[in-house]
Symmetry: C2
Subunit: 310 residues, 2 copies
């Protein structure tokens, strides 16, 4: 890993994890009457994750200000929303996953009913953090709430998940010659991932920048940068599913192909997807180039997302 990024992770990850672990989700009465609720919430929040969204919030904040600890409640709000989405995605009615990051999924440990409610509570708690724990002018907090609601909601993350579920029947015939159909499928695929993953990645960046008081020009650059690295993240995922190392990924390889899933690899082939990934990275770096040395962390992160092996 790039030494810049290694240093960033070493600086930001422990405080982010400490902040998340330190959250008390339920009051004394709730803890007494429903002791497993706090456990179920922390079970998923405390699980080892990349913490990509909190890191993005902090890096965007640091483009403008040094006291990045002030961004922790905002960073945590994004991680809570990400966590709730994983809990709901893993449910039997959704992806029906028993394992996540080497541990049983929330509903396997606490049951489906509590897992649904745990997700609901985490989503709600994210908005409470923004409204009650962030030190900022009220107008800034309102902006943070609006952005989170947009990127997490029916036209954002949840919308992407809906498209994903509804398009599951879409099967890619190998060597399709129907160009018009390929364009439709590319729009479907890009919108799906722009909303399902890209929106929250962009939102996390914007939240950090908004908290630090960014201007419109920077906001637009970060929005484009977020979109591009969000999409790159997914293209890299699709390539890794095809050629990655099973052991370092910790999941089965080739599962997308077996399921006839619509992916960037199924649409463009392996070489085409690699080309697409390179283009996305170059476009993303172009967006933050004018920021100069300040953007060194975001640059390293974009490269890491593209070049990662898991």
């Amino acid at each position: 890993m790039n030494p810049v990024l290694k240093n960033s992770f070493a600086t930001y990850l422990p405080p982010v994890n400490r902040y998340l672990r330190g959250l008390s989700f339920t009051d004394a009465l709730q803890k007494r009457l429903a002791p497993s609720q706090e456990k179920a919430m922390h079970y998923s929040v405390d699980a080892r994750g990349k913490r990509l969204r909190p890191i993005l919030t902090i890096m965007a904040y640091r483009l403008l200000a040094e006291d990045w600890q002030r961004a922790l409640p905002v960073a945590a709000a994004y991680e809570l929303v990400h966590t709730y989405s994983l809990i709901h995605d893993d449910l039997p009615a959704m992806d029906d996953d028993d394992w996540r990051r080497g541990e049983p999924t929330n509903h396997k440990v606490f049951g489906e009913a509590l897992a649904i409610l745990t997700g609901d509570a985490l989503l709600t708690e994210a908005f409470r953090l923004l409204a009650e724990e962030v030190e900022a002018a009220a107008a800034v907090i309102v902006k943070l709430v609006a952005t989170l609601a947009r990127v997490a909601g029916g036209n954002g993350m949840v919308g992407g998940q809906v498209i994903d579920i509804l398009s599951e029947g879409v099967v890619i015939k190998e060597n399709t010659k129907d160009n018009e159909n390929q364009e439709d499928l590319l729009e479907l695929l890009e919108t799906l991932h722009r909303r399902k993953t890209g929106a929250m990645i962009t939102g996390a960046l914007l939240a950090g920048a908004d908290l630090a008081g960014c201007d419109n020009d920077l906001r637009l650059r970060l929005e484009k940068f977020g979109r591009l690295i969000g999409l790159a993240f997914q293209v890299a995922d699709d390539i890794l599913d095809e050629v990655g190392d099973q052991a370092s990924l910790g999941k089965d390889i080739g599962s997308d192909r077996e399921l006839d899933k619509l992916t960037f690899v199924s649409l463009f082939g392996l070489e085409g997807a690699r080309q697409k990934l390179l283009e996305l990275k170059q476009q993303a770096l172009l967006q933050i180039e004018p920021l100069g040395a300040k953007a060194i962390e975001l640059k390293a992160l974009a490269e890491y997302i593209v070049d990662r092996d898991r």
Copy 2:
């Protein structure tokens, strides 16, 4: 129905329903790629409901100001959160209900996966409404967000639902002589309902009052009033389940007793529950008495909640 209340419902209900029906939850692209998402969201939001929470928001607002249409986005936010909670409560993993208000439940029409995501999207949209659609000072909006997150979250509505699920095994022996145990059970039952139903009823009142700029004294009165009518609402429910008219209720009578459910009737007996209901009503009316003629609507509503036959 009391003529005051009849007039209030006739005034507020059509604009509330119009506002809810008029909401566009998804953008043009989402509507094209996932057409059933908008349908699934409106299916439950547009269903005939009492609209108790929006009415409470408007009535509380009118204690202080006349232009109650300004409260519509806030009122709608509370109804969206209430609607999402019904969708998730009806899921097979939760109460497993196939019918609600004479119509198939959301998951029976759109499938479980979409029903879960529809609930998630409605909860998120409620916060977007507060942040983007309410005309008020930013500090007021932050207060509205904080209150909604508190009353809907892990120590509020979701917390009450968790207690409900975890305490399902609690069976009431008839004529229990164990007074200490009865006190524990009463605390469990009251906390459950104070959080599951009472919190959102209180929140809806506070939101209307906060939007209109209420002072601390009024806020405290409304908080107590909301708690009391929220609990009264549930005691009345328990009594109706025992002695109500099956046809006007639209649901089976005696189901709580058959299920050995912990209710105010199982705990106090029918007469004891009626006595409790009367006490709650008197305490509630006492809270708003100092407000004088302005509180005529809230008084009528409190009486309606207690004396209703369905």
